[in-house]
């Protein structure tokens, strides 16, 4: 619920970009409200991507992407500590399988150095095979980027949002912005289901919907052309197949279909790249899945398809034009600031995008006075399966719900699920619980824990089981049993 009718800054969009901006702005004496249209933050592209903290050699020198990628990569080292982010700096290899591709590697190396990326080097065939024994025998060499990492984008967005809330920001989910009100070309506020909220500044961080939000404010200077990428995720027992992020030599359109470990020990392959007009089109396809399997096998021929546990896809919020980030004040509507077209390397760039948005606000005349009470640190969450036996036993003694394991595949306890629901940006849907706790991410994909988590959500949110949703606004799971009209039956 929103019990105010005026604020300083409205952030539209609760993905990695919007939450990073909200967190950055929470450092200042400003009233900030973030609106997210879906029932959970990070529910768009932020939850369906490659989860890579790119080194920064791929982006065109001089572009915003290049500048913000490198800056963002650096910032994540501090954020890792402050916010307790799960990050693994495993480095990446861009693998060449012929001389042509080796030349591309040299180009990437030079580009990377221009962009300010440290530690880049070209490895020989033998060196690559030594580091990655399962790599294709066709390997000619690789570009090694030690500063690349993998992380949990949803976890980061959640941590940004929670820290923002901790520092006074209001994060409102399940709440699309319906109208951006302007007067004489200046923003005066926004309208949502909670009514009118007066504000002079609106940050457009609406992902694939950024062009629609912009149009709401009278600015149709760009269009978002979503580009879908499909993924296949594999069982944790494949985790020792390879150690680093593995890229093929890039093409003009995308970084290519890669293979990567995840922070929790799974591996995945993907994404392909397919333009789509439909912003809701996150369906995987037979052709798409076959495409990524075939490409991935070119790098790791022994990829065990039988160990696949799930497939998903996400949409890149690609802006038309030169495809670079659009981080600037609107030239049409005063008070509207775009953080749009945030496709790869968007995740890595997010904290740097937030810095840039702050400085744009300052240039626009907003006073950024440091908040003395700003607390950069989030309290650490309890992850039962990672604790020692002694610590586990102590926890259960304080709260018996730590003693009931709900998700057997990932060892998630009832107490952790309850906390995930009642935390500051708490889970209100099945998938929101999944993203926070990992319940449902294992081999059985929620077959065992799904009904149990549904029951816990119903209990904790004080709603009937039939009102529990999977993820999106209308994704109801179960129905009441149908009872016949007794008289009719007896006749």
């Amino acid at each position: 619920m929103l019990n105010i009718n005026k604020t300083d800054i409205v952030v539209i969009g609760g993905g990695i970009t919007g939450t990073a901006i909200a967190r950055e702005l929470s450092k200042y004496e400003l009233d900030v409200v973030l609106f997210e249209k879906f029932p959970d933050i990070g529910a768009g592209s932020t939850k369906a991507n490659s989860a890579i903290l790119h080194a920064g050699f791929d982006a065109k020198p001089g572009s915003l992407k290049a500048q913000l990628n490198v800056r963002g990569n650096k910032l994540y080292h501090d954020l890792e500590e402050e916010l307790g982010l799960e990050v693994k700096w495993i480095g990446s290899l861009v693998v060449a399988v012929n001389d042509e591709e080796m030349k591309t590697l040299t180009e990437l190396l030079e580009r990377g150095r221009t962009n300010g990326v440290a530690g880049l080097e070209i490895l020989s065939r033998e060196e690559v095979l030594d580091r990655e024994p399962q790599i294709t025998q066709n390997v000619a060499g690789a570009l090694w980027a030690p500063s690349a990492g993998i992380f949990l984008p949803f976890g980061a967005a959640l941590a940004f949002a929670e820290n923002a809330v901790r520092n006074g920001v209001k994060v409102i989910t399940d709440c699309p912005v319906e109208e951006i009100v302007t007067e004489a070309g200046k923003i005066t506020g926004v309208r949502t289901k909670h009514g009118f909220l007066a504000a002079k500044y609106v940050i457009n961080a609406a992902g694939v919907y950024a062009d629609e939000i912009s149009r709401l404010a009278g600015d149709d200077s760009f269009a978002i052309k979503p580009r879908k990428g499909e993924y296949i995720l594999f069982d944790k027992k494949t985790s020792n197949l390879f150690k680093h992020v593995l890229f093929p030599a890039p093409s003009k359109v995308s970084k290519g279909i890669l293979l990567s470990p995840t922070v929790h020990g799974n591996i995945f392959v993907g994404p392909n790249a397919q333009d789509t007009a439909d912003k809701e089109d996150v369906a995987t396809s037979t052709d798409g899945l076959n495409e990524i399997i075939n490409k991935a096998k070119q790098l790791i021929p022994s990829l065990p398809l039988g160990a696949a546990i799930t497939q998903f896809s996400g949409l890149r919020a690609a802006a038309d034009g030169d495809g670079d980030f659009i981080i600037q004040p609107s030239s049409v509507t005063q008070g509207l600031i775009h953080a749009a077209g945030i496709q790869s390397p968007g995740l890595t760039s997010a904290p740097a995008i937030a810095e840039m948005v702050s400085s744009i606000l300052r240039q626009q005349g907003v006073e950024l006075k440091h908040k003395v009470s700003f607390d950069p640190v989030n309290p650490r969450k309890i992850i039962f399966r990672d604790l020692s036996h002694e610590a586990q036993q102590q926890l259960i003694a304080q709260n018996p719900l730590y003693g009931r394991v709900i998700c057997r595949c990932e060892t998630v306890t009832e107490a952790e699920i309850v906390e995930a629901i009642h935390d500051s940006c708490g889970a209100r849907t099945l998938d929101a619980v999944k993203r926070r706790t990992r319940a449902g991410m294992g081999r059985c994909q929620g077959g065992f824990c799904g009904p149990r988590v549904t029951a816990i959500l119903a209990r904790e949110l004080n709603i009937p089981i039939t009102a529990v949703r999977k993820d999106s606004p209308e994704a109801y799971l179960f129905f009441n049993k149908m009872t016949a009209d007794c008289k009719e039956v007896l006749a």
């Binding site: 296949i232 995720l233 809701e280 996150v282 369906a283 995987t284 396809s285 037979t286 798409g288 899945l289 696949a308 546990i309 799930t310 497939q311 998903f312 036996h389 586990q392 036993q393 259960i396 003694a397 018996p400 719900l401 730590y402 003693g403 009931r404 394991v405 057997r408 595949c409 060892t411 009832e414 081999r443 059985c444 994909q445 077959g447 065992f448 799904g450 009904p451 029951a455 089981i465 039939t466 949703r469 999977k470 993820d471 999106s472 606004p473 209308e474 994704a475 109801y476 799971l477 179960f478 129905f479 009441n480 049993k481 149908m482 016949a484």
Partner: protein, 422 residues
Amino acid sequence: MSQRIYDVAIIGGGPAGLAAAYGARQAGAESVLVIERDRELGGILQQCIHNGFGLHKFQEELTGPGYASRYIKLIRQDAKIEVMLDTMVLEVAADKSIWAVNPKFGLMQIATKAVIFTMGCRERTRGAIRIPGYRPAGVFTAGAAQRMVNMEGYLPGKKIVILGSGDIGLIMARRMSLEGAKVQGVLEIMPYSNGLTRNIVQCLEDYDIPLYLSHTITKIHGAERVTGITCAAVDGKMQPIPGTEFDIECDCLLLSVGLIPENELSQAVGVKLDAITSGPVVNQLRQTSLPGFFAAGNVVHVHDLVDFVSEEGGIAGKYAAQYARGNLSAPVRTITVTAGTGVRTVVPQQIDVPATVIEPVRLFMRVTQPDKKIAISITSADQTLVSRRLPVAKPSEMIVIEMPASKLEEAGEQLTFSIQTQ
């Protein structure tokens, strides 16, 4: 929690675990512990409210809960069988200590002389068979849906498509119809159904539910909630045939596409697994490759008759008890059992022959494809030791072949099961 050492600890209180507990006590175990993660004993039987259970064992057609209650009564009457409900086993160590947790006692390290794995199966998921499309609400595995309908009291949908015509899928087709839902059809990728004929009649024909053999689902529709599926006919390689696609409207897709023995705990402690069954390699005593670790029921190989699950549980219980009491005689030699032509799996995969062979060994096998008028032979080197004729054999119906003691003595190092068509 006391520091007692149990004779036998059983992980999983479903039909296999219950029979194992009873069998262990019959064989002289002084203290037996059954650890069950659910709120009551009975395992999967409690949600199988239909009948057809116990025809062999009790010469009666019982429902799942009815069958379970027979064993639960025996267990509850026995003061030397301890039951821990709402308890999840986290880890089993090589020294047989079991780490388990529940809200009441917290984290426990349980000491036992023998361990029996009876954890059953999990269901194969959409992700494992890679059905493309959206990921809307309304896609459930048939077993998970069965639990919601029969135990929690909710429907997974009102217009249903079922993928997989094995018994679980067929039973759910009937169950959903009885609950007032419209079952649009059952799709089966094979050219034949794996389910019992009686279920085809009672669950599909009775309700006019179409069965589409040699079909699979090529896409799931609906961004938030299922709105329908696209299916297509498949060729001999089970690949969709372009041009044969058609859509079926539904708000719910139930997947009955296979059971996978749940061996996370067994694998973690280092028990050798059979790549085809996905369960532990066991001998005729149901002992695994690690001494003192036994396994029975669906965790060893997927069963279709609970009567055989109970038999297997009883065997594991008996010999786990003997092991715990130090009475398990050492074998004099080992015979490897191999699945030959026409045979998919045989359990046990190994026979550890005792010094004096008295008892026959019952071997449980499945054929690779449906056939009529077949002969099953067990051969050792070139010698046929046992031959059995069957008028009908199906992969979905487990076949028991008994090997008499005399034949065991004649057997060499390897026994091969194979099928000949007459």
